[in-house]
């Protein structure tokens, strides 16, 4: 009996404690929610998730050359912003860049820009940053000083408001990397011993925002009135806090606790937009293409006729439906993101439908014609009569890949090509790519603007995966003439000059089928419009919301 009384005392204590913490949370909530009124035409605050998934607080670092700075977007700026969707260039810290041949690049540096500590920004800062990368190869993400994708630089010098980069040979393909370089203040970083390990606690940047506070979790950034294009920045304050999985993020978007999310929320239309169509939206900008890659050193993929035939047997609509809720469009076999990159398309393909239709009858005919005859059991054989089979390795846990792989395998089996899908850990699929021991995989063809480096690398025999790295030519497509075209393309400095070579690459894609394009792969933005309007959308696809955040910020306005 007495025991029971004691237990109930304990229970009531527990309940009391709970009640107390309830009260406490009530207070915390109200303090958290207060927002300042914005001045006319301005947005008081936008809230985003934290940029890095490193959750341990108190270890703040803003060094843009560390792998995971607290923010990589708002403080330090690049020279030119080339948006990831349409490849259009917007001058930023440089007002222009001119190639003189392929071995000399002259950058015109913007005047009238100030660092957030009031110092003047000059061409010397740019030259300093680029030269620092020579001393510390860990900073050299563009490969400026080594021989990846073109000749290394020999000197970088500032002259008045210009910076001149001279190379040992043609280096045109390094352009994207160079213009994307985040410029550091010389008057701060020249004192730093090793900029790759330096912990930057008090960032001095040229960007639109400066750090107001960071408490180990919540990063608050305030708009700079003296920013060089301050008239375009309507957001007074940015708060970045927390790392959310898809279900958390969906709820937070629904509640208006965050204004944008850049991760994957399954079926955003149903999960987010349908619940509040007035105030929410999403834009999945194509960032590249999901492609079906056969090992060209193995049967049956070594035969271009086979590759061409099955390319007509792919039900891309159904892949989009099952893999990504029908959001992404079937992809063009050219390897280019269309229609965003339409003006890069060579004339012979302009206006043509380069998205291969789903036509199983045609595919079957082509297989017959190529000698892959159907046996009495409905299964095709190799032209020499030996059994034909496709071994498909897919990354377990990549749910979109797994769904697409299932459709591909159904399509192939329906054509009489005996296909077996094996799901294994992503690491072991990676290992198969390195060793070249896979037969068939799904992979990603990056739709970046430097085509020699993206589409080109997929087709370049110098870009085979090694034991150490999965370089892009996973299928091991090898053709000396194509290598030559890529070399020419990477040496070309203007779009006009690039076009004929690009035409040749597109030809290779459309006639040799080194990989089969399936559907576009997205760069995701799911956003709310009750605080800010002007996000890139289906109707106004001016940039990729997730990859071009700095550019998008200059377009955001308060809701009308």
């Amino acid at each position: 009996m007495r025991i029971s009384r004691r237990t109930s005392q304990t229970t009531s204590l527990l309940v009391g404690g709970l009640a107390l913490s309830l009260v406490a949370s009530g207070c915390a909530g109200s303090a958290q929610d207060q927002e300042n009124e914005a001045a006319d035409g301005m947005i008081a605050q936008l809230t985003f998730p934290a940029e890095v998934d490193a959750t341990v607080g108190g270890l703040g670092n803003y060094n843009p050359y560390s792998p995971t700075p607290l923010t990589a977007v708002w403080l330090y700026e690049p020279l030119i912003v080339r948006n990831n969707l349409t490849c259009e260039e917007t001058p930023w810290l440089a007002t222009g860049a001119t190639w003189d041949g392929g071995d000399k690049l002259t950058l015109d540096i913007r005047e009238g820009v100030t660092w957030s500590d009031g110092e003047e920004f000059t061409a010397d800062d740019v030259a300093f940053t680029l030269n620092l990368q020579k001393e510390f190869p860990g900073m050299d993400k563009a490969g400026l000083w080594n021989d990846t994708f073109g000749a290394p630089a020999s000197s970088v010098t500032a002259d008045g408001n210009q910076v001149v980069i001279e190379f040992e040979g043609n280096a045109a393909a390094k352009y994207d990397g160079i213009i994307g370089t985040k410029i550091l203040p010389e008057h701060v970083y020249s004192e730093v011993e090793d900029p790759t390990t330096y912990v930057d606690k008090e960032p001095v940047g040229t960007g639109p925002f400066e750090v107001e506070s960071y408490n180990g979790r919540r990063l608050t950034l305030a708009r700079r009135d003296d920013y060089w294009q301050a008239d375009k920045i309507k957001v007074e304050k940015i708060v970045q806090e927390g790392m959310f999985d898809s279900s958390q993020a969906a709820l937070k978007l629904e509640n208006g606790e965050i204004d944008a999310y850049y991760g994957d929320i399954p079926n955003p239309q149903k999960t987010v937009v349908d619940k509040d169509p007035e105030n929410t939206g999403f834009f999945y900008a194509p960032a590249g293409t999901t492609v079906l890659t056969g090992n060209l050193e193995q049967e049956p993929w070594s035969d271009p006729a086979f590759r061409e035939a099955i390319s007509y047997g792919m039900d891309k609509e159904s892949m989009s439906e099952k893999g990504i809720y029908g959001i992404m469009e079937p992809a063009s076999q050219t390897g280019l993101k269309l229609p965003a990159m339409e003006d890069l398309l060579p004339e012979e393909y302009a206006g043509a439908d380069t998205v291969l239709p789903y036509d199983p009858d045609k595919a079957a005919e082509m297989l017959d014609a190529a000698g892959y005859e159907e046996g009495p059991d409905g299964k095709r054989t190799m032209p020499d009569g030996s059994p034909l089979s496709v071994d498909f390795s897919v990354q377990a846990g990549f749910i979109d890949y797994e769904a697409i792989a299932e459709v591909v395998s159904d399509n192939l089996n329906a054509l009489g090509v005996d296909t077996k899908v094996t799901a294994s850990a992503p690491e072991s699929v990676d290992e198969e790519k390195k060793q070249g021991s896979f037969n068939t995989v799904l992979e990603y063809l990056h739709g970046g603007c430097e085509l020699a480096r993206n589409l080109g690398s997929k087709l370049n025999s110098k870009q085979f995966p090694t034991e150490q790295d999965i370089f892009p030519n996973v299928g091991r497509y090898s053709d000396p003439a194509t290598d030559d075209t890529i070399a020419q393309l990477s040496g070309a400095t203007s779009r006009e000059e690039q076009k004929p070579y690009l035409g040749d690459l597109v030809d290779v894609m459309m006639t040799e089928y080194p990989v089969t394009s399936l559907i576009y792969a997205p760069s995701r933005t799911i956003y709310r419009t009750d605080n800010a309007e002007g996000w890139p959308t289906e109707d106004n696809p001016y940039a990729s919301g997730a990859d071009d955040r700095l550019l998008v910020m200059t377009r955001l306005t308060p809701p009308s």
Binding site: M1, T55, V56, T68, D140, N215, D245, Q248, Q463
Partner: protein
Amino acid sequence: MRYFLRKLGFFVGTLWAVVTLNFLIPRIQPGDPAELMVRRLQGKDSQLDAAQVRAMRSMLGTPDGSLWSQYWDYLADLLRGNFGVSYTYYPFKVGDVIGQAIWWTVGLVVITQIISFAIGMVLGAYAAWRRNTRLDTTITLGSTFLGTLQPFWIALVLLYVFGYTLGWFPTSGGYSASTPGWNAFFVEEVISHATLPALALLIVTPIGWILGMRNTMIMNLGEDYIRLAKAKGLADRTVALRYAARNALLPSVTGFALALGGVLGGTILVETVFDYPGLGRLMGEAVQNKDYPLLQTLMLLTTTGVLVANLVADLLYGVLDPRARRAEG
């Protein structure tokens, strides 16, 4: 004495094996951290850019020398307390990263474990004492049912109901707007942020203890000395607490020490659901990013925790129960 020496020897041997395995396992895993870092910044299955991989590799540095010399360097570094630099949190040292996270886990998990243990002992003992009453049935059946649920699932339900739908509690993090330190606002935030994760753990963790305690207690209640105590006319409470419960507690003490050491694994998911900045979440991150220096140190920390807890329990047992010493010595 021999008993204690044997236990100590066993401890040192196991610790060496753990350290060695900890050294070897990451080195035989496929995958390259530099490549993974570049991938992480660009998204899953992204196309690797040769220049970026090169830069990253030169930043992180690659281990050199034979496996043997790496092993000796590793042991020497461990003795010096140098655990290397985390890849995820580069350029911060593993020690600093863990130093930040550990207090959250100690605060959340250790406290909930102690409360769970206490609740488990009391409820278990009570259910055994009033066995076969309606209350006993409720406790036993209830906990068997709850025991089938996963803490992270409960965490999701709590998050949805109390976090989003009712909005009573914050939904992520260990704190939010306040500045860490001894101020009222921070303490308030820590308590309100810890409530849901703590509840998620508190609903499930006591169950093992309840059932375990109830069973041992029932066994003990059938012993002759209990009958004797009752026959002597001792008060019910004295018999229950000082005789039966005290003896039944003994195996649970060992279990508790072990549970404290191995507690990290169970909290990975709960901490992840609540974006709670503790060691469990850190471990999840380390696994995901192949952050070997961080992962190795966390593994070392947990395994050493289990071993030390084991040793302490063994030694305590030797002190508490002379039979253990005699039987083995």
